[in-house]
Subunit: 228 residues, 2 copies
């Protein structure tokens, strides 16, 4: 009954599935796959079984029965407890109502982009843009193949995904344009820095020249250890 701090959304998916009817873990996995929830909820066997175990330990689900057919591995069928039912709706409500910061790889990469040179960065971003546009096309294809009358609410998560994809395409396109046109402040310094570095100029001289390049306030250039 310990209040385990489950954070894996897969655990919520398990609760929601058991809200419908009792199931064994393998059936949960096939059901999630059949309903295309795998696109939105990361699913792998190891996690599924350990998540189920931890839900049981915290009293949110319980074993209903344990059936063996022939020589196959035993199937353990689980069902929701009253506590689990409460938890499922509370948890889902919270995920819907409360935005939490999600860390993406691309955001991390952007924040470190200065480590490669600008022309290289542009090239990589163009590759990304290409992939993203292919994804849009693929998605268009899927959408046009969905039978008329299919309830939108059943695939609302894919509309969200699409909204984010379109936003990213826009962002990357703009970024490439700004980088190419040197329209983005700081790119000149960035480029100069890589020129100096590849010419073997030592770090402190690079720092000095960059400081000189930048007109006006340069407080932001300072290092935490060197600031007065």
């Amino acid at each position: 009954m310990a209040e385990a701090r489950l954070s894996n959304p897969l655990a919520l998916a398990v609760l929601v599935l058991l809200f419908e009817r009792p199931m064994h873990p393998y059936e949960m996995s096939t059901t999630l796959r059949y309903r295309r929830k795998e696109d939105s909820i990361k699913l792998n066997y190891g996690s599924l079984y350990s998540v189920v175990a931890s839900l049981e330990k915290s009293g949110l689900i319980e074993v209903k029965e344990s059936v063996r057919e022939g020589n196959r591995p035993e199937r353990t069928v689980y069902q929701l407890t009253p506590a689990g039912e409460t938890k499922a709706t509370a948890w889902l409500s919270e995920l819907l109502s409360t935005p939490v910061k999600e860390y993406t790889r691309f955001e991390a990469a952007l924040s470190l982009i200065g480590a490669i040179d600008p022309d290289d960065a542009i090239r990589q971003l163009e590759l990304r843009l290409g992939s993203l546009i292919l994804q849009q096309r693929a998605d268009d294809g899927i959408r046009s193949a969905v039978p008329a009358g299919f309830p939108r609410i059943f695939m609302i998560e894919s509309e969200y995904q699409r909204a984010l994809l379109d936003a990213e395409v826009q962002f990357v396109r703009n970024l490439i344009t700004d980088l190419k046109s040197e329209n983005l402040t700081g790119v000149k310094q960035w480029r100069r820095m890589h020129e100096l570095r590849s010419a073997g100029v030592p770090a402190d001289e690079i720092f000095a020249e960059l400081t000189a390049m930048t007109a006006g306030s340069t407080d932001w250039l300072e290092d935490p250890t060197t600031r007065s």
Copy 2:
């Protein structure tokens, strides 16, 4: 030298920091914090030290020196190896060029939204919208406080973040509108389902009625176990 498959972007951040100059782990953490990279790269001590250890084990970084000042814990200063230098640029390039699916909590929640009733869902989404708009305001405030001349490229990751935030606001606003106007196909069935359930109607009768409600093709309503 083992090719460890590091996936934590924090490891890339470590490589990039050491590309600048040798550092000890604690200094990496303060530097990342000072440069606001914490907003984009999840940082906690446990992960940092274990990531550093695993980078060392795979030969991408190495100990430069180990200094002790007074009775303080020893500071272990690391530096990049040639392999680490190569890895840093290759890894960064890959993160920039290659989109990978990121699983967000909100997307997971949307995919399970059917488990709570529509009116409840609308309420939670309105709460979310409120928070998101507050975030936009806060971000506007920060942006207007940035000193003129501050190079945009140094905070490009926050522009990405903002683009995604704006897209989410749009999406949630539209979704709320569509739900309220019953404009979204499937909402009627969804609402009816929760009415029946809270009236204690058994699952199979609910299924029967929902099938009847939906004109035309209802293949998509079928269960994997019951399809012919």
